[in-house]
């Protein structure tokens, strides 16, 4: 069975690119447009990994990460945050919230795949 990755980003073009790239190598992708949409979609779905932007309306990335870590189902799944901030502060906040790793925007599809491979096989 294919692994399922959820991608959360308020930018349609980024969600599309992520979906396309991950689909190409065999992952199933669930898209959500912001934190609240993600929470709604997670109610019924099983995911193996979360890829989330940090800056979003309606529950931003950090809040989403904290929320998902509080769910027993998702306590241990890998979570990668998409960040444009290169300051360590954001990465620290992310890790404190429970993120596993990060990718800095802008990124190329190969970089995305390399990071996914580090945390999910």
């Amino acid at each position: 069975m294919a692994k399922v990755i959820m991608t959360v980003d308020d930018s349609t073009s980024i969600r599309q690119m992520v979906s396309f790239t991950l689909n190409q190598v065999g992952y199933d992708v669930v898209e959500a447009v912001d934190g609240r949409d993600a929470v709604d979609k997670l109610a019924g779905t099983h995911i193996d990994m979360l890829l989330t932007d940090l800056n979003m309306p309606n529950k931003n990335g950090l809040e989403l990460i904290e929320w998902i870590r509080s769910m027993p189902k998702f306590k241990f799944i890998p979570i990668i945050m998409l960040t444009t901030e290169s300051e360590t502060e954001m990465k620290q906040k992310g890790k404190a919230a429970g993120a596993t790793g990060w990718i800095v925007k802008p990124f190329k599809p190969e970089q995305l795949l390399a990071v996914v491979k580090k945390v999910l096989r």
Binding site: Q16, M17, K75, P78, I79, T84, S86, G101, W102, A114
Partner: protein, 698 residues
């Protein structure tokens, strides 16, 4: 590239939407400066355009938008107040961005960079609205952080690293499974991993959400140390990681001997030199002694031993030390072992009827040892197939220039080992098959080009183990087989009937019939029609199978399946009357039970209906003239011989049986249907049947 075009389009649509939203939001703010939500929307719009723009190559747009985003961020947190200047600037920026996007997409007029710079300057001015001096200009873009780059330049030689990975107890809660790290390391070279389990507590104290393991990894790799560090980039803060160089291949001098275990342990800090020296007085192996005395844990010992093995391997030269042995001495040894195996089987059977546990234990031990001895001895005669692969390269090179074709030979699995005798007898058939590919298979460059193929043809010669067999394939990307031509020829030669409806594969296998050849002209290379059937006979005599498949115009593939050794057979033991026979298991598909009355005779031929499939059969009882007393139920062993299914009717199928083959004596060497004999556990002789010969004489 289609995809990236699609994304660009999508981004432009998205940006358009966002920018019209910006217009609305700005006008909202103008009316109601306290509208925090609108400010947030504005900020996010710019943030998205900046981020996504950079993703899809709109660098100039991204850079410009960055300035607007910064200002809006400050408006968000109250540092910059909402003013008419701000509103105007944002609208101007919005227009500017729209124009930049249009220009980038080729639909808009080229822009005056001066204008852009002025807007940026004004935006910056907003940030420093007091008379305070603007701080010394940092680079307008924060130094873009590199995502870790998967490729780093590799050093020339292989280096052995010792890596110790100790994750924190609660590493799982970061979502990282340490196994991922091990996989990443395994991708970099043939590493050996030893888990250290000392910290695992008792079951009562064990928490399933905590990680108590640490790992020692020995990794020989050509990748750089930075590449190894990159593996741990996400867990640097959650793990203790030590990476040390153990050995550099290029540097080890000739005289350096294999590292000693004690030295390794001291070097790693697992043991003190003092304790090591103390232990040296007795004669037991140092590692064991250290464990016994409690100075060292078992896992640490295992880990150090692993390191020792790997580094020693690196030191050994590629030519392993060998001993020459005359072939006949080996043969004698193999015969003796064969006899031993047979006698041991009898011993086991006899012991099983006695109720003596002591005897039983010893006999079991002998069985195990005999099995090991048999495997070792048979292994002696195994040689890698690469030894004959190499001469084929020369053959291909010479012949392809002779034929004015461009052909490359690719080999895979050269390290696959085969019995020496089998290898020797395979030589001629393989040469013939490769010649076929060269001569008839791969087309001349002009023809290939016409057909849209690359001018250079490829023949792939591959070998591998599959179960207890060796599979060798010869595949060319040439013209493929002409089904019609083969069919015609087979009909002409009386091999198949004009009206027979046969699958392509069955038609292909007609090539192996004697006297068959579709080539009009006989060249010096091939076409005499004696090749393929000789090939088949050789493969049969090796108790193997040969298959040929093809897609006309694209490829032809010949597959050879051979048993690993000639001395042992995997067979199916059957009984007819009071006698036992063995059928080679390789060709057996299934066994069915039938009542004697059920058999149908259609058109005077013996045919059986197996789940709707018509399978002809041979009654071995009749063939061997063993009397007419048929049991009520008989068993049929359905085999695949030369791509046709055929059943052999026997009284009873007993089961799988692996045993040593004994050749029949010289007095029996002309017997047709039997290829050898074997001795069963109770001393009875079972004859091994040659299924293809049986089929032919049906």
């Amino acid at each position: 590239m289609d995809e990236s075009g699609r994304f660009i389009e999508e981004f432009c649509l998205e940006a358009e939407e966002l920018l019209s939203g910006v217009e609305d939001a700005v006008l909202d703010i103008e009316e109601n400066p306290g509208d925090q939500e609108a400010v947030n929307r504005l900020f996010r719009a710019m943030h998205t355009i900046k981020g996504s723009g950079a993703m899809f190559g709109f660098d100039a747009v991204s850079e410009f938008t960055h300035h607007v985003e910064t200002v809006l961020d400050n408006v968000r947190n109250g540092t910059v107040p909402v003013s008419k200047t701000l509103i105007d600037l944002i609208l101007m920026s919005r227009d500017r961005i729209t124009a930049m996007l249009a220009e980038a997409n080729g639909g808009g007029p080229p822009l005056d960079s001066q204008e852009g710079e002025e807007i940026v300057a004004s935006l910056k001015a907003l940030l420093y609205s007091d008379d305070t001096e603007p701080p010394v200009e940092k680079s307008s873009k924060e130094a873009p952080e590199e995502n870790f780059v998967p490729v780093t330049p590799a050093p020339e030689n292989e280096v052995v690293y010792r890596i110790r990975l100790s994750p924190d107890l609660d590493i799982f809660s970061t979502g990282m499974d340490p196994v991922m790290l091990l996989y990443d390391l395994a991708d970099m070279g043939e590493c050996c991993v030893v888990a250290q389990t000392e910290k695992v507590p008792d079951l009562e104290n064990l928490s399933p959400e905590s990680c108590y393991f640490s790992w020692d990894i020995i990794l020989p790799t050509t990748k750089s140390v930075n590449a190894i560090r990159d593996v741990f980039i996400f867990v640097e803060d959650d793990c203790e990681i030590v990476i040390e160089t153990v050995e550099e291949k290029g540097i080890a001098s000739q005289e350096v001997s294999a590292p000693r275990l004690g030295d390794i342990l001291v070097e790693r800090g697992d043991i003190e030199r003092k304790i090591l020296d103390e232990e040296f007085d007795t004669h037991k192996k140092i590692g064991e002694r250290l464990v016994e005395s409690g100075a060292l844990s078992k896992e640490k010992l295992k880990s150090a031993l692993t390191e020792q093995t790997i580094v020693s391997k690196m030191h050994k030269s590629s030519v392993a030390s060998t001993v020459r042995v005359p072939s006949d001495r080996l043969d004698k040894l193999i015969n003796l072992v064969g006899e031993l195996v047979i006698t041991q089987a009898r011993l086991t059977q006899v012991a099983s009827t006695r109720e003596d546990t002591e005897l039983g234990e010893s006999v079991e031990e002998i069985e195990r040892l005999t099995g090991e001895l048999r495997d070792s001895v048979l292994n002696i005669r195994m040689m890698p197939i690469g030894t004959i692969f190499n001469k084929f390269r020369r053959l291909v090179r010479d012949m392809s220039s002779q034929l004015n074709k461009e052909i490359e030979l690719v080999t895979q699995g050269a390290e696959t080992e085969l019995d020496k005798t089998v290898l020797e007898r395979l030589d001629d058939p393989l040469v013939h098959l490769i010649r076929n590919s060269l001569d008839h298979g791969v087309e001349p460059p002009e023809v290939r080009e016409q057909r849209g193929k690359s001018q250079k043809g490829t023949i792939v010669l591959s070998a591998g183990h599959k179960g207890t067999n060796v599979v060798i394939t010869i595949q060319d990307d040439g013209a493929g087989l002409n089904v019609e031509a083969i069919r015609q020829k087979a009909v002409e030669g009386g091999l198949i009937s004009e009206h027979a409806e046969l699958s392509d594969k069955k038609i292909f296998s007609q090539i192996f019939a004697p006297g068959f050849s579709t080539v009009r002209n006989v060249t010096s290379v091939s076409g005499r029609g004696v090749g393929m059937d000789v090939v088949k006979r050789t493969i049969d005599s090796l108790r193997g199978r040969i298959d040929i498949d093809s897609v006309p115009g694209e490829w032809t593939k010949v597959t050879l399946i051979l048993p690993l050794t000639l001395a042992i057979i995997n067979g199916l033991l059957v009984r007819i009357e009071d006698d036992f026979f063995v059928l080679p298991l390789m060709s057996v598909e299934e066994c069915v039970e039938i009542k004697s009355k059920e058999v149908e005779m259609i058109n005077g031929r013996n045919i059986l209906n197996v789940r709707g499939d018509m399978v002809p059969y041979i009654r071995l009882r009749d063939r061997f003239h063993m009397g007419n007393r048929r049991p009520e139920r008989e068993h049929v062993v359905i085999t695949d011989v030369n791509n046709s299914r055929i059943g052999f009717v026997v009284d009873h199928v007993i089961g799988g049986h692996q045993t040593v083959i004994k050749p029949l004596g010289p007095a029996f060497k002309d017997i047709k249907n039997v290829s050898g004999a074997t001795i069963l556990g109770d001393g009875t002789v079972a004859l091994i049947l040659d299924t293809s010969v049986l089929l032919e004489s049906a």
